[in-house]
Symmetry: C2
Subunit: 318 residues, 2 copies
């Protein structure tokens, strides 16, 4: 019987992290996940410090359990977000989209727990060297912004496990208890799930987006904008326009056309405001396996039941 390094590190009941999602994971979702025994993360990427402060303070009233924030380091102002959270007593930081050496030492010196998101075994090792407490390794199937290496979760997790000795959180393609069991078999200590928690009552994804995502088939997501910033999107008019641009232009002209067509606030329009035709709808491949919008508590109980049932199954020894 192995102990669980992630539940111990984060002082949570279940080895389940709710991925930070711009426009989707505010105080309400993060607190619900933490109250249900996982770790909730406020997705700070879409929040300026005053709004982030509001969400952190609200989450503190909604739960007495640990929660954290996710900070994409590539945005201007990420340091302001971090300082805002530190001032309010947040002690768990998931950093992504940038160098792990940028803020890890500063955060560790202040006593915080730091976990960095990676998409390759080599970067995972750099994270460990930078002094993080754990790593999230995220496969090609994950939603939203995605690494360039396109390693899938099945290929990525065992190789990251062999590179690092610190705890490992698997991400990309998870929505069930048995898939969490598979992740542990592959060497992870926990999983991070975004899409499964996006599809809950408590997420701040617009109901138009949730209802539209319920109809997704196995052909409904694509990794697009590889020549700018790769992102996995739910198919809609906007995503088809992007595909058409990608099929029609080359090199610098392609980049310009993509950036210009993307414009500003596409993700907000789509995910928060519910413009399902022209908005940018970030979502993972596993959406085709999700056919309900329950409460976070219901999701968590179903997953834990499925996990325990999976543990109880036995297979022929060969």
């Amino acid at each position: 019987m192995t102990t669980n390094k992630i539940t111990e590190l984060l002082n949570i009941k279940y080895p389940i992290i709710q991925g930070g999602m711009v426009w989707v994971s505010g105080a309400k979702l993060a607190a619900a996940v933490s109250n249900a025994g996982g770790l909730g993360l406020i997705g700070a990427g879409s929040m300026k410090p005053p709004l982030l402060k509001e969400h952190i303070m609200k989450a503190q009233t909604l739960t007495s359990k640990p929660f954290g924030i996710n900070v994409p380091l590539l945005y201007e102002g990420s340091l302001d977000q971090i300082n805002c959270a530190l001032d309010l007593g947040v002690t768990i930081f998931f950093t992504s989209a940038g160098s792990p050496s940028k803020v890890t030492k500063m955060l560790k010196d202040k006593g915080a727990t730091v976990i960095h998101v990676t998409s390759s075994p080599a970067l995972a090792l750099k994270c460990q060297d930078a002094g993080v407490d754990a790593v999230v390794a995220e496969g090609f199937e994950a939603g939203g912004h995605n690494g360039r290496d396109e390693l899938t979760t099945m290929v990525l997790i065992p190789q990251v496990r062999e590179k690092i000795s610190i705890p490992l959180i698997a991400a990309g393609g998870f929505s069930t208890g048995r898939s969490i069991h598979a992740a542990l078999i592959l060497g992870a200590d926990a999983v991070q799930m975004g899409t499964r928690f996006l599809m809950t009552k408590e997420s701040s994804a617009h109901d138009n987006f949730k209802q539209y995502a319920l109809k997704a088939t196995f052909q409904s997501t694509k990794l697009l904008m590889k020549k700018t910033v790769p992102v996995r999107l739910l198919e809609n008019i906007f995503s088809k326009e992007i595909e058409e641009i990608e099929a029609s232009f080359i090199k610098d002209e392609l980049k310009e056309k993509i950036i210009s067509h993307l414009g500003k606030s596409r993700a907000k329009h789509g995910m928060l405001e519910g413009n399902i035709e022209q908005g940018e709808l970030e979502i993972g491949q596993i959406i085709s396996h999700i056919k309900s919008i329950p409460s976070v508590e219901e999701v968590m109980q179903e997953i834990i039941l499925d996990f325990n049932q999976s543990l109880a199954r036995s297979f022929i020894k060969f």
Copy 2:
């Protein structure tokens, strides 16, 4: 304790299939895998009937265990290949790259076992409806020719499992015993591995190719030629030229340039003849996790040991 439907269906010891690979899996590799307790497959895709006949007859002298052939149905002459194998007493057919309804009834009427390769839950259901005995579901991480849907093994397998009631073989990303354990947890009854068996003494991949593949990093494969026939290749001068063409042309002109640059016999030059600069080197993402070229028997024993050790590990129930 569940029984294993695939070992029973195919009358083999271990739930491990060696994927049929053009230019790589002839009589020697297929017989070695069958002798080691798995199911070997002769990759008929690259063989005209006289050569296929030679390989089948040679395999029959090298093993008394069951083996099969893999037939991509898109090639002209696939029916000649099938008839050649039937005449020689082959009873196990893995069909791919074409409609499962094309040959399944004819083969079943002759008493053969038919297994079709798919890359989506919807096609898996069509396979079951067409009367196949089992399905191989192959994820985005797999080597060589690949589906257009880009579903990864982690996302694909549980959804195929829910669509069909017949036995299921998972493919794409497997090379270790613990990954086979994970596949069973996700709902598969067995795995098919190509790249792991390509990297053995008995495969007919040229030694130049094997030695070059040993140096692969996690960035060394890419799914290319998506506008013609998607194929996962090991990076070399040829693959970089293809990438440059893909970045430089659009639509019909792109297709023409790809087809013209590909020319004839690229795969043979690369994989069988060892031209590692200008040949087409088909390989799976998991190559970055493979650091040895052992015998098939050694591979199999190591995998089974790892599988049994994985079964014996226990995790905290939550």
